[in-house]
Amino acid sequence: MSSTGTKLETPGAKPHPKLRALLVEDNALDAALVVRALFKEGFDVIADVVQDEAAFTKALLAHNPEVVLADYNLPNWKGMEVLTVLRREGLDIPMILVSGALGDVTAVECIKQGATDYVLKDGLARLPEVVRRALREKHERSLRHQVEKDLAKKADELARSNADLEQFAYVASHDLQEPLRMVAAYTQLLSERYKGKLDETADKFIGYASDGALRMQVLIQDLLAFSRVGRNTAASEGIDCNGVMKEVLQTLAAAIQESGAVVTHGELPAIWGDRTQIAQVFQNLIGNAIKFRGDNSPAISVQAEKTDQHWLFTVSDNGIGIAPEHAENIFVVFQRLHARTEYPGNGIGLAICKKIVERYGGRIWVEAQAGSGSTFKFTMPLHGPDEKPEVQP
């Protein structure tokens, strides 16, 4: 037996797709018949023909066949042994048994053991279709495998990115705030101790420095709160929004009393989510409604209605309103429409609302006219964990 294979090629012009095949066959005529059967149905075949394991392995690794066609019974080897070699080399190449009469039981057994298909030597007309199908299935398998690999890689990157963010947030919260705390404290002490004792310019300078430091302290805290929204690992649960409203109104009690605000709400549903975050959304929206009030005492209404796709919450007020051209901007981090001297705040409340609502697959927007009050709307999913949408980590 030769340890090198024989090469066979289809004769004549080659208008067809190339097929690299590896034949395990000791009968030269049978091998030629196989190649011819494939050529007849459009395959441009380049085939190596081998008879034993050593030659098979060599040809396999050297020529990278797309399909293996093996005889069941060879003098020196068993066709099914091909599968052992393929498995050993970790190669997913379709193997088709081309054989003399096989009992049905044996044939089924072979397929169970990993052969892709089998074709009888006196039924070679079937072979091209069998090869076509095998190649097609292999192609689909490869695609799927690639997609899975990409997904795993993305998940890995996400986990690493989250870990980085977590570390950044801790550094920001602790290490950044330390020197800032010193600046804020000592500029304030400077201001208290030396106000009126140095000249007016000095007072002004110290004032600016002190203000800047204090503002930066709040900014960092707000930014941290914003970054924490995505990372929050608290479990989601079914929550009764009526109960949440009660707590929110209590938190805002001082502001409500001071502004004479009247907050009413209709019957609110039970939804699925993180209680603290949902409370945050209500608190920010109602708090804003109180803050951006006009000359009248704030009248704020919170309603919920059920649509086919989601719960639609509405928070409407009679405050200063928002010009339509700003309707999108206001949800951007740190975007403010008014001077700090007019209305306090950093402009992060709505950005946090948006981040929370979108985390659940909802939407938040405002319907407003300048000067005639605002109506904020946001959606939340109808269903709980059994049918929940993908929640971002």
Partner: protein, 158 residues
């Protein structure tokens, strides 16, 4: 009252002192979650989740134990000793508040690991001032130990 949300466990057999303490705490709005035990035995049952308090959990300890010294059944030092000897309870802040003027009692208290030792003033208004100070200090200023059940760290998820 939900015994998992107790802020102060007040252990005192004197009704007068209990009344005065609650009155002072109420003035500072700190009296909402005060549980009263009349003697050391009841205090231990409460803290060790046994007897009539078997349904309590170690995950929700009080933020402060305000402990008298001279009590029937089990006295304050015994209670303190058991609290500080058991890993499940030893981080709970305990303040001994007693009419005893014995130096020895104070020494024993600190030796057993009491968090602070206070002598009850005889004067009513002084008494109220002291309760106010200690209530504010231990419930507002201090950060109690963090437990598995109810985390007491601020700033979570905001």
């Amino acid at each position: 009252m939900n015994t998992d949300e107790v802020d102060i466990l007040l252990v005192d057999d004197s009704q007068d002192d209990v009344d005065l303490t609650l009155h002072a705490l109420r003035a500072e709005k700190l009296a909402n979650h005060v549980f009263i035990a009349r003697d050391g035995e009841e205090a231990l049952d409460f803290l060790f989740c046994s007897g009539p308090h078997a349904q309590r959990s170690f995950d929700h300890p009080p933020k402060l134990v305000l402990l008298d010294l001279k009590m029937p059944k089990v006295d304050g030092l015994q209670v303190l000793k058991q609290i500080k000897a058991d890993p499940r309870t030893r981080t709970i802040p305990v303040v001994l508040m007693t009419s005893s003027r014995e130096e020895r009692d104070m020494a024993s208290g600190y030796d057993l690991g009491v968090n602070s030792y206070i002598q009850k003033p005889v004067d009513f208004s002084e008494f109220r001032k002291v309760v106010k100070l200690l209530g504010l200090y231990w419930l507002v200023t201090n950060r109690p130990p963090v437990n598995n059940g109810k985390s007491q760290t601020a700033g979570q998820g905001s």
